[in-house]
Symmetry: C2
Subunit: 146 residues, 2 copies
């Protein structure tokens, strides 16, 4: 598949917006080909909403629709078990991961259920997330339930 650079940039912008608001810098985008359907970011700090990881916020904002199997999820950080489960449940067939260095482990769970996983190793996002984990380990551990 073709990676849509505008979707990658939107994920990074969402992550940066969350960081600027004091939150966890994970951003996600749902796209249909090159059209952005919804974008979101982690809402733990901002909305006291622990289930609203970036991926979940984007899916929630996409709302009630029947075309999830035609969408691609771009996400700035590799999905946790909750978000991986959501991707499978909503039958989202493709995931583009900007950073699987700072967190990962559910890629094979997704692949085993037929999800195409593309890891693009975006250097800017990997640096932002690495800095966040180093600077705010307590918030990071809270968000990832460690």
């Amino acid at each position: 598949m073709e990676i849509q650079e505008a979707c990658v940039e939107a994920c990074i912008a969402e992550a940066k917006a969350s960081l600027a608001a004091g939150g966890v810098p994970v951003g996600s985008v749902l796209a249909k080909y090159d059209e952005i359907i919804a974008r979101g970011h982690n809402r733990r700090v901002q909305d006291n909403a622990p289930v609203l990881h970036g991926e979940m916020d984007a899916i929630n904002k996409a709302g009630r629709r029947s075309d999830y199997p035609a969408l691609t999820l771009y996400t700035s950080l590799s999905p946790c078990m909750m978000c991986a489960g959501a991707i499978v449940q909503f039958k989202i067939p493709r995931v583009v991961i900007l950073d699987a260095t700072n967190f990962g482990g559910n890629e094979d769970f997704l692949r085993a259920r037929g999800v195409a996983v593309h890891i693009i190793a975006n250097a800017q996002m990997t640096a932002i997330m690495g800095d966040f984990i180093r600077d705010q380990p307590r918030l990071w551990n809270e968000d990832i339930a460690e």
Copy 2:
């Protein structure tokens, strides 16, 4: 473990409240022993929030806390893949399922990850959910992504 009847009743009350509001009748409760920490129900119709299944709504309402590994999740319907992933991600160690007849399939996923799964086959909840699936198949299929 001991099943707390008040938590079972609260799940059913949440499911009924959702049904009365035109929504999907799934209710969930997070409890610490006999203390109800949070309760919630499916918000697809009411809030146009497809990720807020009953379990997710309850977890979200429990909010930022460190004691998820001390909680029990009661849920009126067996968890979908998204909710099962969330249970594992939040390290919730025990799940009480009122109805695994109308929907199920992720119990072994949970057990394989160390979650204790108790299916109590509540007749009232099983009847409510069965009626809903028969009466509103389109909404049910939408919610479960079929």
